[in-house]
């Protein structure tokens, strides 16, 4: 009964949120920019055609870097805007729990990102027309990219709940996402290893998105990588909830 009610609530909120993307120009601008950037990197930098290989590694390789800037941009309005316009007060005084509101917003944005990813299908079509790519690896790459997008998004959702300014949310979110991308890189681990205990250095070096995405884009969908991305999302969305509960002021 309660679960039924809860899922109805989430569905109603999610529908409104998703429709909100497409009734404003935001969605279309976002989709066009996303596809152009991905296309540019894939075909002009990685030179997918000239590589002469029937796989999509040159395509997936760029996803973290495009996500780094575009997903914080997509996520920055999630809560900051509602807080600024006062509609957050409206929604959270309806019979809705904080968790339902957060999940609805998150899933709406995630579905939107899923639509963006799905619209890159011409690249797949091109490669499979020209050659005979391993479709398992392609599907695996998409699943990994979608999971990573969710992790980026959960960070953006969290920073968006911290402020009523979308700009602050965007910048914070980019910085945190950049940290997660670079966490496995030697310069970062070296900067930390000078003062932090070794277990912390080890922890940070394993936090990197890139190392977890690396095996996925090669076509290996490891349960540990899935668990990793999901736990980033759960952690960030829980933080989102705590922030919302504590920052309900004017």
């Amino acid at each position: 009964m309660r679960i039924q009610e809860s899922s109805n609530t989430v569905r109603a909120l999610l529908k409104r949120e998703l429709a909100g993307y497409f009734t404003s120009p935001v969605a279309y601008v976002f989709i066009v920019i996303f596809l152009m950037l991905i296309g540019f990197f894939t075909f002009y930098i990685s030179r997918l055609f000239e590589a002469g290989q029937a796989d999509l590694r040159g395509f997936f390789e760029w996803h973290p870097w495009v996500f780094l800037f575009l997903i914080p941009a997509a996520a920055m309005r999630l809560w900051a805007d509602e807080r600024r316009l006062g509609t957050m007060e409206l929604v959270l005084t309806l019979p809705v729990t904080t968790a339902e509101a957060i999940l609805a917003k998150f899933f709406a944005a995630w579905i939107f990102l899923g639509i963006c990813l799905a619209l890159t299908f011409p690249t797949v079509a091109t490669v499979s027309y020209l050659g005979d790519p391993d479709m398992g690896a392609v599907v695996c790459g998409y699943v990994g990219s979608f999971l990573m997008a969710g992790a980026f998004l959960s960070i953006g959702s969290m920073t968006s709940s911290m402020t009523r300014s979308q700009v602050i949310s965007f910048i914070l979110s980019v910085v945190i996402c950049l940290f997660f991308i670079l966490a496995g890189y030697p310069p970062v681990t070296e900067a930390v290893s000078g003062w932090a205990p070794s277990w912390l250095v080890g922890f940070i070096s394993r936090l990197g998105f890139l190392s977890h995405f690396a095996s996925i884009k090669r076509g290996v969908l490891d349960l540990r990588d899935i668990v990793y991305f999901l736990s980033v999302m759960i952690f960030m969305l829980s933080a989102n909830g705590v922030i919302l509960e504590n920052r309900r002021t004017a």
């Binding site: 006062g86 959270l92 309806l94 019979p95 729990t97």
Partner: protein
């Protein structure tokens, strides 16, 4: 019934709402008054579960807003300050969304939406997006949102703020029409509004509850309640005013020029003391040509000012 007990909210060092208790029964329209920044909106936000109280509780229809917020919020219709709405949605779409979140489906949902649209006179703008509407319409859209599920409890934060006099009249009319089977709390700083719609008034100042009374009861506290105002044509008989001033029940008097003669006002020693008979007999004995006499009822704004500025000493800390 809405039962608020010892509700307190502290923001860092400032206490925005300090130990406020009151109750509202079905059929009552409670006017919630106070200067700007006195804690009206904060109190309402705690009652609706948006802000967690620092201490104290609000119980709505037997459900505690902190323990059982979901069931409590189902029974509340809340109009937040400045009537926030999703500007990009149409009126129909927005109300449909609210209905869906509130658990209406199918034909019940369509009926709830069309009823709310009709009650709030929104039929002509049903398909327009809310961002294109005037402020009065936006306010009514948000009002429609809060009555859509026919809640037993209505909490309205400045429902007529920014409306023109006609729109104010319409909104008050809507509130009065619904009040018979609902308990309503509305905040305002318009004194006319309290007179026009409220059955009871509470005043809070600097976070503390300083008055809880009917509008008439409050008016009786005014020092002009029971004052006699008399218009005398031509000249005032010699010494009449001084004589009235010496009456035991009269505290002071004023004489002012008036195009038709002189106006004499006498104030009772205590609000409400019947001084009119003595003054009238005195005046007619002295042959004053009385044109008109009336007994003043007292004014809410006087009472409001007296109550909310008495402790001017610490009101300076309020704006921090």
């Amino acid at each position: 019934m809405i039962q608020v007990s010892q509700l307190t909210k502290r923001f860092d060092i400032r206490t925005a709402v300090d130990n406020v208790s009151f109750a509202v029964e079905k059929g009552e329209i409670l006017g919630f008054m106070g200067p700007n920044g006195a804690g009206k909106s904060t109190t309402m936000r705690m009652i609706t579960g948006y802000l967690p109280p620092s201490s104290g509780t609000a119980v709505i229809g037997g459900r505690d807003i902190a323990q059982d917020g979901l069931s409590a919020r189902k029974m509340i219709g809340y109009l937040p300050e400045n009537a926030p709405v999703y500007r990009e949605m149409t009126v129909q779409g927005f109300l449909g969304f609210i209905a869906e979140v509130r658990g209406f489906a199918g034909s019940r949902r369509r009926k709830a939406v069309s009823d709310a649209i009709e009650k709030c006179f929104l039929t002509e703008v049903g398909n327009q997006s809310i961002g294109t509407l005037s402020k009065g319409f936006k306010q009514r859209v948000c009002f429609a949102q809060c009555i859509l599920h026919d809640p037993p409890y209505l909490i309205l934060d400045e429902p007529t703020d920014g409306l023109d006099p006609n729109q104010k009249h319409e909104v008050r009319q809507m509130i009065r029409n619904m009040s018979a089977e609902k308990a309503v709390i509305l905040s305002t700083h318009i004194l006319d509004e309290v007179d026009a719609v409220c059955t009871r008034v509470i005043i809070i100042d600097d976070g503390k509850l300083v008055a809880d009374d009917t509008p008439d009861g409050l008016r009786k506290r005014s020092k002009t309640h029971g004052a006699v105002s008399m218009l005398v044509s031509e000249a005032l008989p010699e010494g009449l005013a001084e004589e009235i001033g010496r009456l035991a029940d009269v505290s002071e008097y004023q004489v002012s020029d008036d195009p038709a003669g002189f106006r004499l006002r006498a104030f009772p020693r205590q609000p409400g003391l019947p001084i009119a008979p003595q003054i009238l007999s005195l005046a007619s004995n002295r042959g004053a040509r009385i044109q008109s006499v009336f007994v003043e009822q007292g004014r809410l704004d006087e009472v409001f000012r007296a109550i909310t500025t008495s402790d001017a000493g610490d009101s300076s800390t309020r704006s921090v």
